[in-house]
């Protein structure tokens, strides 16, 4: 299991050091600093073995988190734990920075004592942790016996992510379907790979221990229902009603065995914001934009670039925050840009022309052309021509996912599904959206 956990700043100074196992000595702290943080080359692996000691590290801005072990631990678990720890710290004191860590080091030690015991990860749900690890350490004394046992049963219990007795005057929930479209397209416009990775994020402000059921236009469910009885012709005629989900994963509150057998998503949600599910689709993706590049080398000292973008969705919808990034060679000496819409700028530090458009409606087209002047070089190696990448945000789900329902049942309290105010929002963003040129 995890033998120790260290946090370093960018210089390699130790900010937090907690050792769980006897086989990890103080020299392990230095070994990692010398061999990884101060290493000259780029990091070639997130797992490093130095003198039979294995180091797992992740970086958050310029802070290094390293877990150390001498045993054959579950590597996936160690990384999941490190991410989880980042989440917990963020939930407690915001951004993970050197200053914040130094300011909260007592709290961090307290957390580390609680969520990792002898190197075994324990309950690390912030919802539960916040009930008894507070920055006012005195709280322990004022708790009643009931409160205490409530805490322990929540931390160890089946529903470790939610405490009992939550009350809201207004029962409300927000569902965000957040998708990122990933695309890799050849210069000729052929789709090399495309997929949507989506998340359903829920903000719940519900009283008691509500039982929820979530439904979407999952092809398997729709088809099953279609077969089961009166077929919903309207649904079929309107075309793309259901979508094929390649795979999905759920927050630990979702009853997985029920999903496996009935494909129904039922759960008791944590209070506040959390990620209900993640999913991935690859079929029938709506690609919101198409990029058509044209790069021409004129002699050895000049490049002509022309890029056309076409929006491909309902004209009534508006895409926002559009940004096209056209890479330029390292030996660029000057760039002249002409664009019809938005603003374009050559950013020498980023080796790219960045073209920004605030808004663009569906079924439109826009174009940029640039002349790039190059310094002559002796470098024999040709310019690698990195792909043109794009960022945008659209108000629909490119996968076609639709939320069909989210039902809330709380039998003990006197509110019903109808009383809950529900909000659903779809946001499609660009993931890695690249066109080779």
């Amino acid at each position: 299991m995890i033998g120790g956990l260290f946090i370093y700043n960018h210089k390699g100074e130790v900010l937090i050091s907690r050792v769980y196992r006897d086989d990890i000595g103080r020299n392990a702290v230095d070994a990692f600093r010398v061999n990884v943080i101060h290493a000259r080359q780029q990091v070639r692996s997130p797992v490093t073995n130095i003198a039979r000691t294995s180091f797992f590290h992740v970086k958050r801005s310029n802070i290094w988190l390293a877990a150390v072990t001498k045993q054959n631990v579950n590597a996936a678990m160690v990384f999941e734990f490190l991410y989880k720890m980042c989440d917990v710290m963020t939930a407690y004191f915001g951004k993970i920075s050197e200053e914040n860590i130094k300011n909260n080091f007592v709290l961090i030690y307290e957390l580390l004592d609680e969520i990792l015991d002898f190197g075994y990860p324990q309950n690390s749900e912030t919802g539960a942790l916040k009930t008894f690890i507070t920055q006012q350490g005195i709280k322990g004394q004022h708790q009643t016996k009931e409160e205490q046992s409530q805490i322990t049963s929540q931390v160890t219990g089946q529903i470790g992510w939610r405490r009992e007795g939550i009350k809201y005057r207004r029962n409300e929930l927000f569902l965000d379907v957040l998708e990122s479209v990933n695309l890799l397209m050849s210069p000729q416009g052929q789709v090399l790979s495309a997929h949507v990775s989506g998340r359903v994020v829920m903000k719940s402000y519900l009283s008691g221990m509500p039982e929820c059921k979530f439904g979407m236009n999952d092809k398997i469910v729709i088809d099953k229902q279609g077969k089961g009885g009166a077929s919903d012709d309207a649904g079929k005629s309107s075309g793309k009603q259901s979508i094929a989900i390649d795979d999905c994963t759920f927050h630990q509150c979702v009853r997985l065995s029920k999903f496996d057998s009935e494909r129904s998503i039922s759960f008791i949600p944590p209070d506040g914001e959390y990620e209900l599910m993640r999913y991935r689709t690859t079929k029938d993706i709506i690609l919101p934009f198409r990029v058509i590049p044209l790069v021409r080398e004129v002699g050895r000292t000049k490049l002509e670039v022309k890029v056309v973008i076409k929006s491909n969705f309902k004209p009534s919808l508006l895409a926002q925050k559009i940004e096209v990034r056209i890479p330029t060679p390292l030996n660029t000496s000057g760039v002249q840009v002409i664009c019809m819409k938005g603003k374009a700028k050559y950013k020498a530090s980023e080796n790219a022309i960045v073209w920004k458009i605030k808004r663009m409606a569906g079924m439109k087209e826009s174009q940029i052309s640039a002349e790039i002047e190059l310094l002559p070089t002796n470098d024999k190696k040709k310019w690698a021509r990195p792909p043109i990448s794009m960022n945008f945000e659209v108000p629909f789900a490119p996968s076609g996912l639709k939320v069909r329902y989210l039902k809330v049942f709380e039998s003990k309290l006197n509110y019903s599904d109808h009383d809950v105010i529900k909000w659903v929002r779809y946001i499609g963003r660009s993931g890695i959206y690249e066109t080779r040129c």
Binding site: F56, N74, Y83, F105, Y120, Q158, G160, D247, Q252, L256
Partner: protein, 948 residues
């Protein structure tokens, strides 16, 4: 809210100040001080001097302060064991606290204090906590048992904590179950044979129930534990699989990977025709793909594991090639791993896409990645024949980029393509030759030289090209030197007229100016080959090469099986068994897949072929050819040894014989000359024969030689009768009797192995200790059939004299070790020194006279041989049988003086004068030798030969 200030106190006298603050009356000040202490501890300052003062703060109502003091205790208790005792009372008291959080905190911390005295006090509180009414305390206590076990395993067993821990597996609280499972698994690892984790269908059922209810971490502990279970039949296996599959949808990647591990392992139990088996295979792909959308570090772990899964069950991901395409912003470690998997998944169906991608990658920035991409193109060509042509043209395009490392990498892989598809793509050679100058890496230079040598007849200026490499011969790496030597010899055999000078140059460079034994040996072999028989040389050097295999870097099947059992863990990331990186006994058990169906599949193809090879009579001539072939063939493929690899001395022996003129006959040169016959026949034949035939055949050979010799000179030395070397008493039933003989110039150790035990003996092997004349087995002990009880077998082991030398006492003592499946046995025996007398031991008269005078008289020794009734001619004949040659005979006053010479295998000459007086049965022998130590042994030989 600004604790960071504690990090900045670096004043002098700080410890003193802290001490004062710690002893302050004000609570707030105390707490501040403890915080400062902890901050100093974190950055590595030694604050152990404050131990008593900090411990004094322990008794407090303030939970935060208490936790800080505990943290300090855990760090320094070990260095101050006596003072740590002061804390015990507080711990014991806290374990009784009404607040479960405090009870748990106390028991948790106490387990982390590794001081013997404290652990004694820990037992009672721990026992209570294990049965606490609060689950939070129980789950903490469960882990504490593992902690205690790490400090004092015996104590845990004596106190019966293990049983309590086992009971916790049936606890009502899922988290308690999970922690108990984790603790038990860890303890079980250090007791490999104990039945601690008594996994049976009932406990498995409990675990599977807890799996649905506990935290994500608990699920990992339980799944990892489940993976160690072996289901009793396929039905149980299927039902466990069915209950584990829902975990594949968990958001936590570690849960998913651990579930994959359980499924991969239990799948082996399922019959392949089962519908469920197919369903399961289909269910595995999507979650594995989903892992690739996790954070990069997890992607890396997932990819390393997918690499294993793809090797074990390629069908799972065969349609998912696209997800492994490299993204521009992927970290380099993810890129390299993806590339590996792409090559493994490449097939005719997707090769076009793959090639297009690889070509893109070859223009990227990272050098390692680009190299790997170029290499991958070559591997695709070799794997998918239909794509070879496109691969070659892609590689040529890349060579045109003139990027140094791309060109070099391309040339290395093109060489492989030439090997795989001979006579197909040689048209590109011209392009390759253009880039000769830019090659600066040994591997690329060696590859290019190989190509030039292999296709010398098509390259007009091959001699010039090779000559240009020859200039800096001594600066090249061995790889290049060897390649250059072979290439020039190839060139010479193809164009003998123009390149004679070149070949002589390289041969002398290799044999005379080089310190590298490999290079020198290869040089000598070629030299000899070329000078004796160019036709044979051609057959050997230009022989057809064995094909190269399609898959490279495959993990060896048994290791792969073990790694599959470790999916998700570090072992699967390193692709090494845990024993390779974990110290001590912990976690080094070898896990194996126990499959009913998989066994046929998992059998390595290697063992099959090896078994086949050892069954066939190992004909020496072809295998020598192989050996040569391998020497010549770039050493790309591991040498295809037939049967057990011969010990090094055997190899040397082979080489010696090749040089000693035996080669001609081996390679079918001028077989027939009786002198060559002796030498050429010798070494290989006995080794080649299956052991059971050995004795009679070599007997027959003797006869043959007796006849063929014709002149009446016996070629073989008669051997002494066998004596018992190793009595059965001393060797668990194995009795060895034996003797030595010299037959046709070959020293043989003739043994009878007699099995007097009740069980079968197999796996015989023999080894000699270093000895005075460097005797060593020339080949492995050829006993192919197991030796049953009361069976005996005759073996003749040919010996060489090129083994390591160490002077023994007596000189002709030989220490032998014989191994079989039961044990290793040692014995020693003495060999008659005439075994070492070589056939060409007859000295020229003049030389004899000169040598006799030259050797100082001190070196002369005289012996008497009594009761010998032979005349001088008969004696001379008898001695000649032992390779003691009479050079001259003189008769002085009725006394015959025979002047004789003999030569030992290590080149020592012994000169002798034998005086025989008619009527007198006592002979006198005078021996003169530069190494007088041998005289005694030689005298014994005289006596034995004359009296026999």
């Amino acid at each position: 809210m600004t604790d960071s200030k504690y990090f900045t106190t670096t004043k002098k006298g700080e410890i003193f100040e802290l001490k004062a603050e710690l002893n302050s009356d004000k609570k707030e000040k105390k707490k501040e001080a403890v915080k400062k202490v902890i901050a100093s501890m974190t950055v590595g300052k030694d604050v152990s001097a404050l131990f008593p003062d900090v411990v004094n703060c322990m008794q407090t109502d303030n939970l935060e302060l208490k936790k800080l003091v505990y943290l300090y205790l855990m760090n320094y208790a070990k260095s101050q064991p006596d003072m740590a005792i002061m804390a015990v009372n507080t711990f014991v008291k806290d374990c009784e606290d009404p607040n479960p959080l405090i009870r748990a905190l106390a028991v948790r911390t106490m387990g982390c204090i590794r001081v013997d005295k404290i652990t004694e006090y820990l037992c009672e509180p721990l026992r209570k906590c294990l049965k606490d009414e609060d689950p939070y305390v129980r789950k903490t206590a469960a882990v504490c048992v593992a902690k205690l076990h790490d400090i004092n395993a015996q104590l845990v067993e004596d106190q019966g904590f293990l049983d309590t821990l086992k009971d916790l597996i049936s606890d009502s609280n899922p988290m308690v179950v999970a922690n108990a499972v984790a603790a038990l698994s860890e303890i079980a690892e250090s007791h490999p044979n104990s039945n601690l984790l008594d996994l049976n269908p009932q406990t498995i059922n409990k675990l599977l129930t807890a799996l649905n209810e506990c935290t994500e971490w608990g699920q990992i502990f339980i799944l990892d534990c489940l993976a160690n279970y072996t289901p009793r039949d396929d039905r149980e296996s299927q039902s466990i699989c069915e209950r584990v599959t829902p975990r594949l949808s968990h958001a936590n990647s570690a849960v998913v990977l651990s579930a994959v591990k359980v499924l991969m392992k239990f799948m082996e139990m399922l019959p392949k025709d089962l519908d469920y088996y197919g369903t399961l295979l289909k269910k595995l792909a999507p979650p594995l793909v989903t892992l690739l959308s996790a954070e990069p570090e997890l992607q890396y772990v997932a990819l390393r594991n997918i690499n294993l899964i793809v090797q074990r069950r390629p069908e799972i991901l065969k349609h998912e090639m696209k997800v492994f395409f490299v993204k521009y912003n992927d970290p380099i470690y993810v890129k390299l791993e993806k590339l590996d998997i792409m090559i493994r998944l490449a097939s005719q169906a997707n090769i076009a896409q793959v090639l297009a991608e690889l070509k893109e990658y070859a223009t990227e920035v990272d050098v390692d990645f680009v190299r790997k991409a170029v290499r991958a193109i070559g591997r695709c060509a070799i794997k998918v024949e239909q794509s070879a042509e496109r691969c070659v043209s892609t590689l040529l395009d890349l060579i045109q980029t003139k990027v140094n490392y791309v060109v070099q990498e391309a040339i290395v892989v093109i060489k492989d393509i030439f090997r795989k598809y001979p006579n197909k793509y040689e048209s590109v050679i011209a392009t390759l030759c253009e880039n000769l100058d830019s090659l600066d890496e040994p591997e690329a230079r060696a590859a290019m030289i190989w190509i030039v040598g292999e296709y010398a007849e098509r390259i007009d200026n091959a001699d010039e090209l090779l000559e240009s490499f020859l200039e800096g011969f001594h600066d090249e790496s061995t790889q290049v030197q060897l390649q250059l030597l072979t290439a020039i010899v190839k060139l010479f055999l193809k164009k003998p007229t123009e390149t004679q000078e070149l070949v002589q140059q390289v041969l002398s460079l290799a044999t005379q100016d080089s310190d590298n034994p490999d290079l020198r040996d290869r040089g000598y072999i070629y030299w000899r080959l070329l000078s004796t028989d160019p036709v044979a040389a051609k057959e050997v050097v230009l022989a057809e090469k064995p094909l190269i295999s399609e898959e490279t870097d495959l993990i060896e099947p048994t290791l792969l099986e073990e790694l599959i059992c470790h999916i998700g863990t570090l072992a699967s990331v390193y692709h090494k068994p845990p024993s390779a990186f974990v110290e001590g006994s912990r976690g080094v058990q070898h896990k194996r897949i126990t499959g009913s169906v998989g066994s046929g599949e998992s059998e390595s193809p290697d063992t099959g072929s090896a078994a086949g090879a050892s069954e066939a009579p190992p004909a020496v001539i072809p295998s020598q050819g192989d050996l040569l072939g391998d020497l010549l063939n770039l050493d790309l493929t591991p040498p295809a040894t037939t049967g057990p690899p011969p010990p090094t001395s055997g190899m040397q022996m082979g080489a010696m014989d090749l040089l000693g003129g035996g080669l001609d006959s081996l390679l079918g040169g001028d077989l027939g000359g009786s002198s060559a016959m002796g030498a050429g026949f010798g070494a290989p034949t006995p080794a080649a024969m299956p052991a059971s035939f050995n004795a009679p055949v070599s007997g027959g050979l003797d006869d043959l030689f007796d006849l063929g010799g014709g002149v009446g000179i016996p070629t073989g030395v008669n051997s002494a009768p066998k004596t018992v070397w190793l009595p059965a008493m001393k060797a668990k039933g194995l009795e060895i009797t034996g003797t030595f003989a010299r037959r046709a110039g070959i020293i043989q150790m003739e043994m009878t192995l007699n099995n007097k035990a009740m069980s079968i003996m197999t796996d015989f092997a023999i080894q000699f200790n270093r000895n005075s004349f460097g005797l060593a087995p020339a080949g492995p002990l050829q006993i192919l059939t197991p030796l049953g009880p009361n069976q005996s077998i005759e073996v003749a082991l040919p010996l060489s004299t090129v083994g390591p030398v160490m002077k023994m006492e007596p000189l002709n003592n030989l220490q032998v070790a014989v191994k079989n499946n039961i044990d290793v046995f040692y014995f020693s025996c003495q060999y008659p020194i005439n075994m070492l007398f070589v056939e060409d031991g007859k000295m020229e008269r003049q030389v004899f006279l000169a040598t006799w005078k030259d050797i100082p008289n001190d070196n002369e020794s005289q012996f008497q041989i009594k009761d010998c009734h032979l005349n001088s001619d008969a004696a001379s004949n008898k001695l000649q049988g032992s390779n003691i040659f009479t050079i001259a005979k003189r008769t002085v006053e009725g006394q015959d003086m025979l002047y004789q010479s003999m030569k030992l295998s290590n080149g020592i000459w012994v000169l002798a004068e034998l005086r025989v007086q008619a009527g007198n049965p006592n002979y006198t022998v005078s021996l003169k030798c530069r190494a007088p130590e041998v005289s005694q042994c030689v005298f014994q030989t005289y006596e034995a030969a004359l009296k026999n």
